[in-house]
Symmetry: C2
Subunit: 199 residues, 2 copies
């Protein structure tokens, strides 16, 4: 690689570290940065810097925020008696985009994954308990991912908050809107039959 | 998107502008930048800035360089009588990595593409002519891409330098090492038969 300028080699290496970006993609991205006008390239650099310097976690719900308290926690129009528990800020965003939920959130910042050494103490479960203990919340909706680890995390949390006598629900499971029964896998169909609803 | 911090939204938009990065990938990259340690995130930002601030084109061959003249043009061990013409710095890199060429290069910084409004005057063809006219070069190897536009660009250049009476060659075409004849397409096989060599 002696034929490439040092800063080009550096940038290729930096891009390669990003998830889903291999060596060839990193080279393509680097040539793109070299080709676009300088303003656009520096905007990307500044945005990365800004995100790391301005963004922190909301002190109540652990959503990403540029202020101590995020815009959802501060919104007086939202229902503060319902709490939706998600793994990551991006899950919160996906639920917000569905436009059907108007309560509060609590972001765990991960899920319990013993194989990766992530235990309950690495998540914001204690803060969730403290929040629920204050008494304003009537319902907790478990919206962890429908995976073994996500389900395990939800089960762990429901065991912990059980003594507070609060209604605990989880997201509905079944066939997905727009899908075709013939091509739906057996786990999904099993969920759909088990949780069947009155017509 | 009111639920996301402004600088997060900004970075997602900046990442989306990169080639091959869609909305979802941009979100994933942004969350990655938020998750890694601050040093690593800022290194990426600084590398992007450094590339745009330090890297320029070599004044002889138009390869990317941090100095006026690139390391290849300055290397006295390289054969200065052979000139390999490529479209982009990344083509130069690919040829260098093959380890079989030790002459000089000339980077066109594109190819003639009338549909995109790129004509000969947008490339470094004039500088190539001036360089060849100085008289030290005996052979020009056309290493533009084997596409309609690449071939057209090579043809255009060969017409222009024709009056200087220099040997002009192009990269060999044929079946690729490791390929399987049965699955090789007809254009490649036609090239391979036309340019067949003595055994």
């Amino acid at each position: 690689m002696a034929q490439l300028a040092t800063s080009v080699v550096n940038l290729i290496e930096q891009f390669s570290k990003l998830p889903g970006i291999g060596r060839k993609s990193a080279e393509r991205l680097t040539y793109h940065v070299l080709r676009v006008n300088k303003k656009e390239a520096l905007e990307l650099a500044d945005s990365i810097r800004a995100v790391r310097e301005n963004v922190c976690y909301c002190k109540h719900c652990f959503n990403l925020s540029e202020t101590e308290t995020c815009s959802i926690c501060e919104d007086p129009k939202r229902d503060s008696t319902t709490l939706c528990v998600v793994e990551q800020p991006r899950d919160l965003l996906a639920l917000e985009q569905s436009g059907t939920y108007s309560g509060q959130y609590h972001v765990l910042l991960g899920r319990i994954a013993p194989l990766e050494g992530i235990g309950p103490e690495n998540l914001t479960i204690k803060q969730l308990y403290d929040r629920v203990q204050q008494g304003t919340i009537n319902e907790i909706i478990m919206a962890t991912n429908p995976t073994v680890e996500g389900d395990g995390t939800a089960l762990h949390i429901s065991n912990i908050v059980n003594d507070l006598n609060i209604k605990i629900t989880r997201l509905a499971r079944g066939i997905t809107a727009g899908s075709i029964l013939e091509f739906t896998n057996k786990e999904i169909l099993a969920d759909a039959i088990t949780d069947r609803q009155e017509f």
